[in-house]
Amino acid sequence: MKRNYKFHWLSVVSFFLPLFFLFGIVFLFWLYLTPAERLLLTGISQIRYIFLVSYAGLLMIGLGFSLVWIVHHYIIPTTRLAEEAELIRSGNLSHRIQPAGSPALRKLSEIINAWASTLESEQIDIETKITEARSESETQKNILAAFMAELPEGVLICNLKGKILLYNKQAKLFLAGKKDDDRLNRDQKPGSYQYVGLGRWVNDVVDPHLVQHALNEIKDKLEKKESDVAAYFVISQHERMLRVEAAPILDHLRAFTGFVLIFYDITDQLQKDGRTQFLWQSLTRNVRSALTSIRSAIESLMDYPDMTAERRERLKQLIHTETLNLGKVLDDTTDEYGGFCTDSRWPLVFIKDDELLGIIKKRAAEKTGIELMVDGSLSVGWVRVDTYSITLAWLFILDRLKKTIGRNRFSIRLKRAGRFVGFDILWDGGPIKIENLNKWEGQVVKIGKEGLPFTLKEIMGYHHMDIGSYPGRSSTDPSHIRIFMPAFMVPEPNRKRGVAILPESRPEFFDFDIFHQSGQHPGMDSRRLTDLNYTVFDTETTGLDISGGDRIVSIGAVRIVNAKLLKEEKFDRLIDPARPIPEASTEFHGITDEMVAGQPLIEEALPQFHRFADETVLVAHNAAFDMRLLQINERYTGIKFINPVLDTLLLSAVVHPSLGNHNLETIAKRLGVEVLDRHTALGDAITTASIFLKLLPLLAQRGIYTMRDARRASQQTYLARLKY
């Protein structure tokens, strides 16, 4: 029963009950009177009725005032006190009661506040201890999560039904976004969006047939107890070719409980393979063609010596042309091949020649005591190296030089030599014999105890480099050996592996708890609120008059899965309302006409949001407003939101009926939620989501567990009658 009704009933009862008793006593008294006495009394009352009425009036006024006083000093403060105390008990320990009402109640409020303070400090203490205790296992989890996040491969972990339990950034990058046009022309709207997220379905981002095929293959292999149980397939998305490895996850009983999909980007490899193949084909075709004519012509020259001079000349000319062609074919092929096949299995990185020299100079001084004087050479290009092996190779060469010519100081000079960067090691005196260089090349690279199981020749081979010895020609050009390394003027960006940063708290996309979840569809109404997936959203508009033509300028949304807020899985779009935004609205949300110019229209954005919110419960603060907006747009977009809806404004009123103000900031403050980016769609959506999560346990205390309970309670709350 509502507080207002209680108050009315109490007033009526307290007012009429004393009157009823008074009149009862008078009536009984009347019954026992003799007729003469009654007559006398009537007579008196007729004369003195004014006194009686005044007395009754005063009595009623007195009663009324006492009642108001009691209600304001005891009844209202007691109810508020109870709700605020409950608020403290149910989680917001930093909340303090404003003392109100009678002295006793004020005293009680102070006691509860003091108690809350004690509890709060104890809780902080406990939390600190828990945090400490957890930190070690958290660190391990975070290492795994950070490792996952920074893998160059995309990873999706799914349960057997295909629900995504874990994913990494790369998987999102590879798979999420605008859907590629389906070459098979299956039932799909062009340009539709696909999302990767916890609790979403793998079938949304990978062709279900391929997944099913892979799963069948895995099951088959598991049954046959094969050692390699993975299945492979290739998909194409966002102009990338992705090789997908599907591997099973087995539980402790070796039962198939889920699967991992690992996505390798093979676009570059395929392109390279394609180019290599093309090169190979054109090489063989050209060589064969040239050989065919040369062979035929020569055989004719040999077999028919008496041919005319003119014919003989023509055949000779042909042979000459074709041999020249052969040379050109070889040159072209070598150039082309060298252009993209400098890759080796060795992990090479780009480095500027002078930077490489800097590293070598430092290491040479430390390891071999050789001083290198770099003559201020300007960089002439980039090289690709494995810094460890190349440095070791350099040290090896320097060490051999030192032993051969007995010096430990060398000048270094950088020279551009055609396709190569030339690193010259110079000294005064005679040159090194080529046979010495050849000998060194055959030796295993070793400096002291440090070494690699490769010869100098092998390391040079991996780097496509060479080495030559040159005698001195003048004082400015003394004897030197030159190390040639292929030069790259504009380095391709290395496939950078981001630095793995351990997050302070558990990353949001890291969640194993949904492994044994029931199906997604059966009877949403009877499902527990904590088990449902939510899309919490907010909109910003050109104004508040929806029916009068105000339109959406921004939609922001986040997801809640397994009662956990996933800020990473957000929807954040500016939308061109196709009409000017009034200044007053811009002041409110900061979105200007310039900002929305060129942004998608609602016809494009709403289907994307619809897809984002698929299979979830929609949550908004004052949802009636936002739902009405979505409904208005139905006629432009044809998109109908049939998701169940919950409203944090109503739920807050359900939980705290006597705390009148239920605007977003007040609720946030009351529940101890931090307000971020107020009046941006995404910021408000995040605040709303945090509030919603705080409301869930409070609702449970009131016996509101399921979707049905929540909806019924919301309907009963009087604010639900507010219509837009």
Partner: protein
Amino acid sequence: MPKTVLIVDDEPNIVVPIEFLMEQNGYSVLVAGSGEEALEIIAKYEPDLVLLDIMLPGVDGYEVCEIIRLNPEWQHMKVIFLTAKGRDVDVAKGMVLGADAYIIKPFSNIDILENVRKLLDDPP
């Protein structure tokens, strides 16, 4: 009357020595640089034998062979494919289409001559 051989290849430097070889051995020689040209010449002169390169721009060797075999009046016409080593699939496809022989590039003059003579029933 000398028998006629049509050489179809888009590489002039291959055509020249074969043309010479055929002429030296008493054949009358026609030359085409593309499939389309070959079909025109075949329709006009009905050569006794066609030396047919497979990789031709436009209409390729297979199509030319197929068209020859589909015409009942040209059943006597012999077809030799000129193909590359390692392209076994070319040989298989060509023979299915009704070619009489194939020669792998780079070929010897003897190879080509023997095949031509055999198919045209000429003495070696």
